[in-house]
């Protein structure tokens, strides 16, 4: 393989696929990036066997071929190269010369034949979503998924596609985020896509570029013009999310999103626990024309905040994990939200005032 390319194309290709490079050193070849040169294009590939990323960029191909180079050295090197034409040439024993001006570096590579073959997906189960919409939908749902690998279905996002459009649902069983959007499609299907994959895709795609998503039996493929991301689908039965969403409420609070977020941020300072498993409890009292926030940590101090709110229905005192409230308030762009409650033990609903397509369900914490 012999190619000439510029630094920015090389950095773009390497940095894009590097997200899929395995951090666990189980197979040395998975620490590598496969580079294939053909027809004045170079294709970069990397995989950790969970997710695979393919990225193509322009280059002048003098001799076609392929090589696997260790990501940790090659990836760092390309970032530090001067901004001049870069020649990459493979020699015998997979050693590769990277020449820039009068200087050169030689890196030992691996046999490209040993690199795992990424599955080819050609499916007619395809849907196209504008990049910015996709990113926004994922951002609002991924906050609620679980990190507990012992229960894999909750580390994924249920992608429910039907005639009404696309619905994304994420839950860790303590809270649930639901986002829908009308998109013209004839597809009818439900699949659980790993949350990590959707987060990676969100980071890699452009706002202006549409992303096409195609499914086969066990895999899902995300494609834009230059990038393809392949991931496995999580097998399992996602519980019926419709039955956990309450259909009515006894208290409805309309409140300024930013004021609420800032108050919760201050309140959570005192009760912040370092452990992810521990709940950071804050108490909300809803009465009259105010929502009062109290947080109390006997060793640190206490906080009391009063925010004006428009309240309908019964007065209520309810406790939540502040982390769950912060997560959702940070992903709502609307100026005002509704907080809808039905007693201090039933799940509460948070949704933007003028947006019907997002809903967040949060279980209160029982305090004695």
């Amino acid at each position: 393989m012999k190619i000439i390319c510029n630094k920015s194309d090389l950095v773009y290709g390497v940095q894009t696929v590097q997200r899929a490079v395995s951090t666990k050193n189980t197979m040395p070849i998975l620490d590598g990036i496969l580079i294939e040169a053909n027809d004045n294009k170079i294709v970069f590939k990397a995989t950790n066997l969970e997710i695979g990323i393919i990225c193509s960029t322009n280059a002048k191909t003098i001799e076609t071929g392929s090589i696997v180079l260790p990501s940790r050295y090659f990836g760092e090197l390309v970032k530090k190269l001067p901004d001049i034409p870069i020649h990459i040439e493979t020699n015998e024993n997979y050693s590769t010369n990277i020449t820039y001006g009068e200087s050169s570096t030689s890196i030992n590579g691996y046999n490209p034949e040993e690199f795992p073959v990424l599955p080819h997906i050609s499916s007619n189960k395809l849907i196209k979503i504008p990049g910015d919409l996709f990113k926004n939908m994922v951002k609002q749902v991924v906050i609620a998924i679980s990190r507990d690998e012992a229960r894999p279905i909750f580390t994924g996002i249920l992608t429910d596609i039907g005639s009404n459009g696309v619905k994304l649902i994420g839950t860790d069983t303590h809270r649930l985020a639901y986002r829908s959007n009308t998109i013209q499609t004839k597809l009818e299907m439900k699949e659980i896509i790993p949350g990590k994959t959707l987060a990676e895709v969100s980071k890699l795609i452009d706002n202006e570029e549409p992303v096409s998503i195609s499914f086969d039996k066990n895999q899902v493929l995300f494609q834009t013009e230059n990038i393809s991301i392949i991931s496995r689908i999580i097998n399992g039965q996602f519980p019926d999310y419709n039955q956990v969403i309450p259909s009515n409420y006894s208290t409805n609070v309309r409140i300024d999103t930013k004021a609420f977020l800032q108050a919760i941020e201050r309140a959570s300072l005192l009760v912040r626990e370092n452990s992810q498993d521990k709940a950071n409890v804050i108490k909300l009292s809803i009465s009259g024309e105010h929502l009062t926030i109290n947080s109390n940590a006997p060793d640190v101090g206490r906080l009391h905040e009063k925010i004006p709110a428009f309240i309908e229905g019964e007065d209520i005192i309810i406790s939540f994990n502040s982390r769950y409230l912060l997560d959702v308030l940070k992903v709502i762009d609307e100026e005002e939200i509704y907080l809808q409650l039905t007693g201090s033990l039933s799940p509460g609903i948070i949704k933007p005032v003028n947006q019907d397509n997002f809903l967040y369900l949060i279980l209160p914490i029982r305090t004695v």
Binding site: T173, H174, R175, L176, P239, V244, N321, I365, R366
Partner: protein, 86 residues
Amino acid sequence: MEESVDKLLLEIQELKMQVYALEEQNEALRKQLYDKKDGGEGLDNLMRLYEEGFHICPAHFGSYRNRDEGCLFCMSFIKKQNLTGN
């Protein structure tokens, strides 16, 4: 003498029949009572399991859960059972 024995036998026969009838009735009542108790106890047992820190939702029945925080699906399951029970 013979007559009084016959009378006694007849009386015993009647008492026997009465005992059978009572036993039958007793069994039916017991069954009724047991069925009623079983329904209530089942839900109580599930609630106790949940309170002790186990999932009772169909997806993760019996697996350990964090007791500090509830499970949306267990709660909705309890609610559903309560509604169908009433």
